[in-house]
């Protein structure tokens, strides 16, 4: 059991506010991913949860009990560091058993737990080796094994896969998800890679400059971004943004004048914005239809054939690039003129402050 809760948690480094009043509830056994660009405060937040960093303001609760002042080893949480932080002078077995040894547990128990962890992580053959004799992926697994033997209520991962090559990263990703399922523990996983976040998380916390930009399931964030930041951060290739102005609101229809001169009409739901208001229209690359006629026109700049799908970079008349993803367009050639029709039932709309306008996007 480890439900974690942060209430108005803030962190100041001298005069710099690294984490700004974060409210967050992490359910027991949830796989929560913190994602955000470099320097947004992910590590700082994780370290405050671990107890390695003091919490400047606010409360941190473990299973409902305030834990701000509980020392790191008493929180029942184990951390896996980006650098692995293995003890270089100890063997794999000693690394994994160190916490138990320091806690004065009997040798037989330590051995049994280390062997069990090694079995789960397929490290049995490496138990007698020193960390420098291991590959990156094996070191990573030792670091995880060191966490497992403590039988913690929760695991904290700080970018654990960022030192691995791409193939291994994909493999470890699925292994971690499996591990989460078999261990029944709460996991918090920090990454700046939104694909890792999307593929692994039960829920994602998107952080931006020390603030929570949005919390939600991967598909929530993808389909209903709360603001421009999340809309731009989640999804690859990125969502296309078009500055626009409200041309008119009439019987449930919102007519938008795009900067390029074209006009599109959307079904206005909720409270419609005032005429003349500046907005941003967001369209995901896969939500375009190529047609003979359409509000957006341009010439194909680059075509990327990925096999299952094709990415088009379409250059608008004024130079802006629109990214389009489509299943099969092997016939489109660079230089060709195309017209794009956004699927208006799937677009997102953001106000001048970058907040999503309620109900403008697909459900």
């Amino acid at each position: 059991m480890a439900a974690l809760e942060l209430r108005q948690v803030g962190k100041w480094y001298g005069g710099f506010e690294a984490v700004k009043s974060v409210d967050l509830a992490i359910a027991d056994r949830e796989f929560m991913v913190f994602v955000g660009p470099s320097g947004c405060g992910k590590t700082t937040l994780l370290r405050m949860i671990a107890g390695l960093e003091d919490i400047t303001s606010g409360d941190f609760l473990i299973d409902g009990a305030r834990a701000n002042a509980v020392p790191p080893d008493k929180r029942g949480l184990a951390m896996v560091f980006q650098s692995y932080a293995l003890y270089p002078h100890m063997t794999v077995a000693q690394n994994m058993g160190f916490a138990l040894k320091m806690a004065g547990r009997p040798r037989a128990e330590i051995e049994a737990k280390v062997r069990e962890a090694a079995r789960i992580l397929r490290l049995e053959a490496e138990l007698g080796r020193k960390p420098r004799m291991l590959s990156g992926g094996q070191r990573q697994r030792v670091a995880i094994g060191r966490a497992i033997v403590r039988n913690p209520k929760g695991f904290l991962f700080d970018e654990p896969l960022s030192n691995l090559d791409a193939a291994l990263r994909v493999q470890m990703r699925t292994e971690l998800v499996k591990l989460h399922r078999s261990l029944d523990a709460t996991m918090i996983y920090v990454t700046h890679d939104q694909i890792e976040a999307m593929t692994m998380a039960d829920r994602i916390v998107v952080l931006n400059q020390g603030e929570v930009a949005q919390v939600g399931t991967p598909l929530d964030l993808y389909h209903r971004p709360a603001n421009l930041f999340v809309a731009g951060f989640i999804g690859s290739p990125k969502m296309n943004f078009f500055p626009a102005r409200v041309a008119g609101v009439a019987n449930g229809s919102l007519s938008l004048a795009l900067d390029g001169g074209a006009t599109v009409a959307l079904a206005a739901q909720g409270a419609p914005p005032a005429a003349g208001a500046a907005l941003t229209l967001g369209v995901r690359p896969e939500h375009f239809v190529l047609a003979a006629e359409g509000p957006l026109a341009g010439s194909v700049d680059v075509v990327e054939h990925l096999g299952a799908e094709t990415i088009l970079y379409v250059k608008e008349s004024r130079g802006a690039i629109i990214v389009v993803r489509t299943d099969d367009l092997a016939h489109v050639r660079p230089g060709e003129a195309v017209h794009l029709v956004p699927r208006l039932d799937r677009v997102s709309l953001f106000d001048a402050e970058g907040r999503a306008i309620a109900d403008s996007s697909a459900t």
Binding site: D73, K74, A85, Y87
Partner: protein, 272 residues
Amino acid sequence: MQHDKAPLSGAIAAWIVACLMFFPILWMTVTAFKTEGEAVAIPPIILFRPVLQSFAAATAQSGYLLFAANSVIVSFASTALAILIAFPAAYAMAFQPGKRTKDLLVWMLSTKMLPPVGVLVPVYLIFRDAGLLDTRAGLVIVDTLMNLPIVVWMLFSFFRDIPRDILEAARMDGVGPRGQMTHLLLPLASPGIASAALLAIILSWNESFWSINLTAAHAGTLAAYIARYSAPEGLFWAKLSAASVLAVAPILLFGSLAQRRLVRGLTVGAVK
């Protein structure tokens, strides 16, 4: 060819400088094997029959073994004490630095800039009143304090090269400061600790100001031995040289045996 020439001339220059620096020691060693007559001859005699009579005289007359024992005891004891004190200090400074840690480090080193003679009188008076004059314990205390800033600095910089993550992982594993020091820092920084200890032993062995001023026949080290040896007897070059060779030989031998380790320790962290 052009490329080969520059390093060659550099090597020659380096050898010349090295020979110049080594020459006094060489000359001293050569003189130690001469008779007194040969030692003072001008022009100097290059070819002679080496004799050991100066060594015999130097060791027989003045209790060389006692002084040598004092040197060993004082330098090793003061070094052990300095490491013992500096280890936790450097740990705290490297891993739990406060606002003033940097200032403290600089201030500690700045005490080394004070000329020792400036505090000779107060230290002498304190030692006299505490009954520490001409005791090994007194000299151990002085040498410990003398070396402490350097040892703290060295350990501090070795500890700084140990990734913080490792100690934080240990904290998550429930290992307190004492456990971190004994189970992690001690093994991980052992080359650095060995270098610091070596340097402290050498500095303490070579220290002459305090041992000459604070000790006499009982607790004097080899530095005091040479100083005292030359004074009452007038200048007997051969015997003085023999005494000096006996004083520097042990530490030179010790240093060269440990040199490899020392150099490795001093360059740890220079490249990552």
